[in-house]
């Protein structure tokens, strides 16, 4: 990242500060981020601001991105793994308008990746930051709706509720039925929501070289996983964690490793499976085309 307080870019929408937020707000958010990095997986309350996008559409991620963004950064925004979904396009355009930064669809070229619901298939590097949009930062929220009580449970590291919930799945269904937003223990201390990424992506968080930042705007919480931190998906010895993906190969690039979207092709039950990570899929297709040409 470049120094975030560098002078304003030119050619962006008039009348707004670089990256939309004023410098005092960005400083406040950076302080929350520093705290979050210091206590991996712990939710730090912060004074989330109203953003010109609706709550629940990525306001937390956008505020985190706005606070760490410098004029020389290259931003990639994905939604459901894809660069070309409407929300990803809209957020990318927002930062083009208010910060004038370069954007990319390539995971390898990006310095900051803002994401909703996926971690790119390509492994991230030390010089990259991934910013997650988080709808509900509290992993215990469905088990205990009261914030005052969940804060107590975190303080006591009392995560029995979640173990019981997973155990009940096994007792009723034979295995854990949590398919996304699968809870993780970070650095052996805090139970954390990985945001609604599929459980398939959870292992990518473990000892990731890139800094992982999580922003929840409506719930006004920031949390983080520093590089190379231990992230373990909750499970039991006799029922180990199992990432789920559709057991197919991508219809476009043939990958059997990546997470797949199911695409209905007609109304008679026809369907194909394609990579949800559009950049990964595109790179593989290009490589295959090049190999075929040679």
């Amino acid at each position: 990242m470049t120094p975030p307080d560098a002078p304003r870019a030119t050619g962006v929408t008039d009348g707004y500060n670089f990256a939309y937020l004023d410098e005092a707000t960005k400083r406040m958010i950076r302080r929350a981020i520093l705290k979050a990095v210091a206590i991996p997986g712990h939710q730090i309350p912060f004074g989330a601001r109203e953003m010109p996008l609706p709550y629940g559409w990525g306001t937390g991620g956008i505020q985190v991105t706005a606070s760490i963004l410098g004029p020389d950064d290259v931003l990639k925004v994905i939604d459901q793994g894809a660069d070309d979904t409407t929300n990803a396009i809209s957020i990318r355009r927002f930062f083009t308008r208010v910060a004038g930064v370069a954007t990319t669809e390539s995971t390898a070229e990006a310095t900051i990746v803002q994401t909703r619901h996926r971690i790119p298939e390509r492994a991230l590097r030390e010089d990259q930051v991934i910013v997650y949009q988080v709808p509900q930062p509290e992993p215990l929220s469905r088990l205990e709706p009261r914030r005052a009580e969940t804060e107590r449970l975190h303080a006591l590291a009392d995560y029995g509720l979640m173990h019981v919930r997973l155990y009940e799945d096994i007792a009723r269904l034979g295995h854990i039925a949590k398919a996304y937003d699968y809870p993780v223990m970070v650095n052996g201390r805090y139970l954390m929501s990985p945001s609604p990424i599929p459980a398939f992506d959870n292992p990518k968080m473990h000892r990731m070289p890139a800094l992982q930042l999580f922003g929840a705007g409506r719930e006004k919480r920031i949390y983080a996983i520093p590089p190379y931190t231990e992230v373990r998906s909750l499970d039991f010895e006799d029922h180990p964690f199992r990432p789920i993906r559709a057991p197919h190969a991508c219809a476009l690039c043939g990958s059997t490793e990546s997470y797949l979207d199911e695409v209905l092709t007609d109304d008679a039950g026809g369907r194909i499976f394609v990579c949800s990570d559009t950049d990964y899929c595109g790179e593989r297709q290009a490589a295959a085309a090049k190999a075929a040409a040679e």
Partner: protein
Amino acid sequence: MYVAVKGGGRAISAAHAWLDETRRGDPSLPELTVAQIEQQMGLAVDRVMAEGSCHDRFLAALAIKQAKGDLIEAAFLLRAYRTTLVRFGASEPVETSAMRLRRRISATYKDLPGGQVLGPTFDYTHRLLDFALAAEGVERDAAPQAGTPVAAVPRVTEMLAREGLMQREPLDDTEPGDLTRQPLAFPAARPVRLQNLARGDEGFLLALGYSTQRGYGSNHPFVGEIRVGHVGVEFTPPELGFAIDIGEVAITECQMVNQFKGSRTEPAQFTRGYGLVFGHGERRAMGMALVDRALRAQELGEDITAPAQDAEFVLYHSDNIEATGFVEHLKLPHYVDFQSELENLRTIRRSAVAAGAAPGAVTEGAAQTASAEAAE
């Protein structure tokens, strides 16, 4: 082969162009001016100012025009603008007893110093459609003028308090919390609760206030006083060290008088529910005052049994900008999480069949799990 539709960028641009066209409507009709909205849809402007928590009639009217009259969308536009403004300080508390009154009514006294002032109100109008309004350009008669403007009048609750019948609110000079700067935390102090309610959704406040009247956390209320008018706003610039008048804002204040049976340490007396909102918004100020009083249940040693008394429930759900964004985010794609649920369901069905159970038996429970968690 079918490939997922691309070109979201062009679709967005086209959709927004269409929105702009429908906003304008039939181009053969004259375009609404912002000034017309500000003048003739004043109560909508007031509501948007309150929920947008920004006192600026012009901007609120502009937002209403841009939002095609969708008031929550307009409040959202105003809040998103407000967030970019530099906050250079806080005003002195406004002195509502010195309000330049347009309206002041009390339901607890027939007559009182200062009198009842009806002001511009829908109360006592018959809700019959006025077809004369459909004819444009008709001159309306000017309203009759009172002889002398209403002077500053004392507050009803203050008269009760002097008799010892109304609980005094303790004076507190600590800096109140500010929800636009700090996140909500519990237990939430009353200034924070009041700030939350002041910009809360009018419909939500109305419904919760109504629920207290229907018995959910009942506490028989009287309207001690509603006053609508203008108050001066004073600000103390640090470099001056004394307060200067920086203008006036229109506000509505409601003080609800509620029963209180007393406790071991306090004699029986009335207690207050308080509502203060931007602009002319009586429904909103009354709802706020009812909910404020309900939220004081713990402090006053009352049983907490109803939604309106549950601070977490009320404060986390009162903000319509937050609520509308999150509810409407369900329109965003959810292919990834839905796909993981699909595979999960299929796995469960396969293992159920393998175990010899009827395919429908186990999957019902799994379907419930799936649907309960589908909303993210």
